[in-house]
């Protein structure tokens, strides 16, 4: 009898000890970053995947159920999730993940955002008052977010704080080395003019010194119209571009239309972790992105 009890305890012990930090990440990039930092101490639920337009997510029942059980909510912020996250937070009945609590982490709060609009007017499209929220495509931003995130994870789970710090340092070291490699690799991309579907690559193009000379959407968040695309095509005569950048979640109709008429290569970028089969983690996301850009340049 004693033996059986002991056996039960042995089996149950790892289950009881697995008091993981439960993390609800709104987008794949932060889910991946939490895994890099937290390793075995965290269980991560990623609310969306790379083929979903991050602006157009619905507050599905499954998201509520997951948010209910989370210790830490990692969001991009800057209104990227404005269409669904506030509802999920409030209806989850989870006090820990409400805005302003330590269990709510916003990546946009720790980096400087680009394209902060001077005038807030919906006539300018679906603009974000705080600035462009697609900040994870600048590797230096990832580093800043990672540092703040590791500190926050330590705050919520003090027992593992040292491990989170160590996890971040190890990640940062590899990431710095990778940045050096990427920047050397991407040198030919400097000054290359590109068209984009949506303003989702602002941080990437700034980092690499590429120039955005046109956007397929007439205004941010407004679906491309044939009139706008025709005008864009005409403008290419005076202001040529080298390629059209599309995120994995964008509908490829408009970019194909431009590509077939202008002869420009259409470059599908993973945009976030999981956007292409190769982009399995944050490193692979950048590797694959650069490889696709360089390939299109040739």
């Amino acid at each position: 009898m004693k033996r059986i009890l002991l056996l039960c305890l042995l089996v149950a012990a790892p289950l009881l000890a697995r008091a993981d930090l439960r993390v609800f990440a709104t987008v794949p990039e932060w889910g991946a970053l939490v895994k890099e930092i937290g390793g075995p101490h965290v269980s991560v639920y990623t609310a969306t995947h790379a083929l979903q337009d991050p602006h157009r997510i619905e507050a599905r029942p499954s998201l509520l159920a997951q948010a209910r059980r989370a210790d830490l909510l990692v969001a991009t912020g800057a209104d990227l999730e404005a269409g669904w996250l506030p509802l999920v937070q409030r209806d989850s009945g989870n006090a820990a993940i409400q805005s302003g609590r330590p269990g709510y982490f916003e990546a946009a709060a720790v980096v400087r955002l680009r394209d902060v609009p001077a005038v807030l007017d919906r006539a300018q499209g679906d603009i974000h008052a705080a600035g462009n929220p697609h900040l994870h495509l600048d590797p230096y931003n990832v580093l800043k977010v990672g540092e703040a995130l590791a500190a926050r994870m330590g705050e919520l789970d003090p027992a593992q704080a040292a491990d989170y710090q160590a996890g971040f340092r190890a990640f940062a070291e590899r990431w710095q080395a990778a940045i050096g490699r990427w920047e050397k690799l991407a040198a030919p991309l400097r000054g290359v003019p590109v068209l984009v579907h949506h303003q989702s690559f602002v941080y990437l193009t700034h980092w690499l010194g590429m120039r955005e000379v046109g956007m397929l959407e007439p205004k941010p968040g407004i679906e491309p119209t044939s009139g706008h695309l025709t005008a864009l095509l005409a403008r290419l005569q005076a202001q040529p571009a080298k390629m059209v950048l599309v995120a994995a979640y964008n509908r490829d109709g408009p970019s194909q239309w431009i590509a077939s008429r202008s002869g420009l290569p259409m470059v599908l970028l993973p945009y976030t972790v999981g956007g292409t089969p190769a982009a399995g983690d944050l490193f692979a996301l950048y590797d694959d992105t650069l490889q696709r850009l360089l390939q299109a340049l040739q």
Partner: protein
């Protein structure tokens, strides 16, 4: 940029070396002068380019970034103002001229309408619907508040005014004030979020013309800590809305309970199912009847009303990305039973069957009904801005037992039906134009072909929509 300017520099240096090899002839002198001019200009251009480049670098350099604290300090005190949004809705409607619309076989909720104004659902031609002004904000770290004021023609109505808990935790959510009840699926949705221009017959029969049940009271919800969505809720309220009635009493006039379950299937499908129960008490609930001779009779109901609602929603989007194409199926079923007494009288003094001599007599009888109905609808977004929808609905007037008043009142037995198709176009998520056609057989002996052209616009900080 570096590459192009180094090319310019190389060109400049070749040009600079040119005059050195120039000969002595006049032509060569002229050429040299031209070259010198060229060189001068090239150099100026190069210098300008270098300036532009350095300016660009300064702008993007991390060293020039202002610290985050500085940005935060810039927000003025008015930043504390609530999120404000305004919903503009209006329509053009083409349909038959029916003075007082009602659903045959179901208690008419409108009561008497002796004013000259034509109300809500009976309006034909151009009309502006309620404009909803929404104010919402976090009150403090513990509570959030929201008010919706519906405004129309010298008439402002508090549609919703509630507070909601943020900090109780354990999956518990508490709401208090006036709010749309959590029963059913469509009930919590505002008209601007509806997929059709009007509420289903089911909701009109259950809760009256506006097609929603609102509580003045308290709502408690609990979300289970399970991987699958499992939510339970209970409400207590004043119960002044149909099927209840205004009353002068302590205690609660209405109570509701509901349970929801939902999940995803793969990455493309998600669903929610629910069951709800609403119980209200009414005293002197007025409605309009027709007597056996076709004259108008007033009936006042006292008793209790129990409603069951079952709902199911299923959504699909390719790759789980609804921005391009998506599909939504939604269906609800109800069953209502009412038990109490009916007081029949003659308000008009027309000498109806309850009061043949118009002497102010009243006939009080038993009143028992058991009625049901359902609707099912699908909406498909087939292109990024276009959606098409189809709705079919049917009610059953079921059993209506008026006791002694059965001899005085016409007891209709009827199955109202309605079929609706719609097509809408959205410029953005904030503006929508909808064309709808409905064949409405909700009144016995009348087939009404209704055309509606409706717009829905939302201004300002527009909040998130429910699933």
């Amino acid at each position: 940029m570096i590459r192009s300017s180094s090319r310019v520099l190389a060109a400049v240096s070749t040009l600079v070396s040119l005059p050195a090899v120039a000969g002595e002839t006049e032509l060569q002198v002229l050429r040299a002068e031209i070259e010198q001019l060229k060189v001068a200009y090239e150099q100026r251009i190069a210098a300008l380019e270098a300036r532009v480049q350095s300016a660009e670098q300064a702008r993007s350099a991390p060293a020039a970034e202002p610290p985050a604290e500085q940005r935060a300090a810039a927000a003025p005190a008015s930043g504390f103002n609530p999120e404000v949004s305004l919903i503009l809705q209006g329509q053009y409607k083409n349909m038959k001229d029916v003075a007082e619309r009602s659903i045959t076989g179901f208690a008419s909720t409108a009561g008497h309408n002796h004013g000259d104004g034509i109300e809500g659902v009976s309006k034909r031609g151009f009309s502006v619907e309620h404009s909803e002004l929404v104010l919402a904000a976090n009150i403090d770290p513990y509570w959030r508040g929201q008010a919706i004021i519906a405004v129309q023609d010298g008439d402002a109505e508090v549609e919703e005014a509630w507070f909601q808990s943020l900090a109780i935790g354990h999956g518990i959510g508490l709401k208090g004030g006036r709010f749309r009840s959590g029963i059913g699926y469509l009930n919590e949705q505002h008209p601007h979020a509806w997929d059709f221009a009007d509420a289903p017959l089911m909701y009109q029969a259950l809760f009256g013309e506006e097609g929603r049940y609102k509580q003045d009271g308290l709502q408690l919800k609990w979300l289970a800590p399970t991987p699958m969505f499992l939510e339970f809720g209970a409400e207590l309220g004043r119960g002044a809305d149909f099927p209840g009635s205004e009353r002068n009493k302590n205690g609660a006039g209405a109570g509701a309970v509901f349970a929801h379950i939902g999940d995803d299937v793969g990455i493309e499908h998600s669903w929610r199912a629910g069951v709800s129960y609403l119980r209200t008490r009414a005293s002197e609930r007025e409605s309009r009847f027709e007597d056996i001779n076709g004259l108008e009779a007033a009936g006042s109901f006292a008793g209790r009303s129990s409603t069951w609602i079952a709902d199911f929603i299923w959504k699909w989007a390719p790759n789980g990305n609804p921005s391009e194409r998506n599909f939504k199926f939604q269906a609800e079923y109800f069953q209502r039973s009412e038990k109490g007494s009916l007081d029949c009288y003659d308000e008009q003094g027309a000498g109806n069957a309850c009061d043949p001599l118009a002497a102010g007599e009243r006939v009080v009888s038993d009143y028992r009904t058991r009625q049901s109905g359902w609707y099912a609808q699908s909406v498909y977004q087939f292109l990024p801005r276009w959606r098409a929808g189809l709705r079919y609905e049917q009610l059953d007037s079921g059993s209506r037992n008026f006791g002694a008043n059965a001899a005085n009142l016409e007891v209709d037995s009827y199955r109202p039906k309605k079929a609706t198709v719609m097509l809408d176009y959205s410029w953005s998520e904030f503006s929508r134009l909808r064309l709808q056609y409905a064949q409405d057989k909700s009144m016995r002996g009348l087939t009404d072909n209704q055309w509606t052209l409706q717009y829905v616009m939302s201004l300002g900080a527009h909040g998130a929509h429910r699933f």
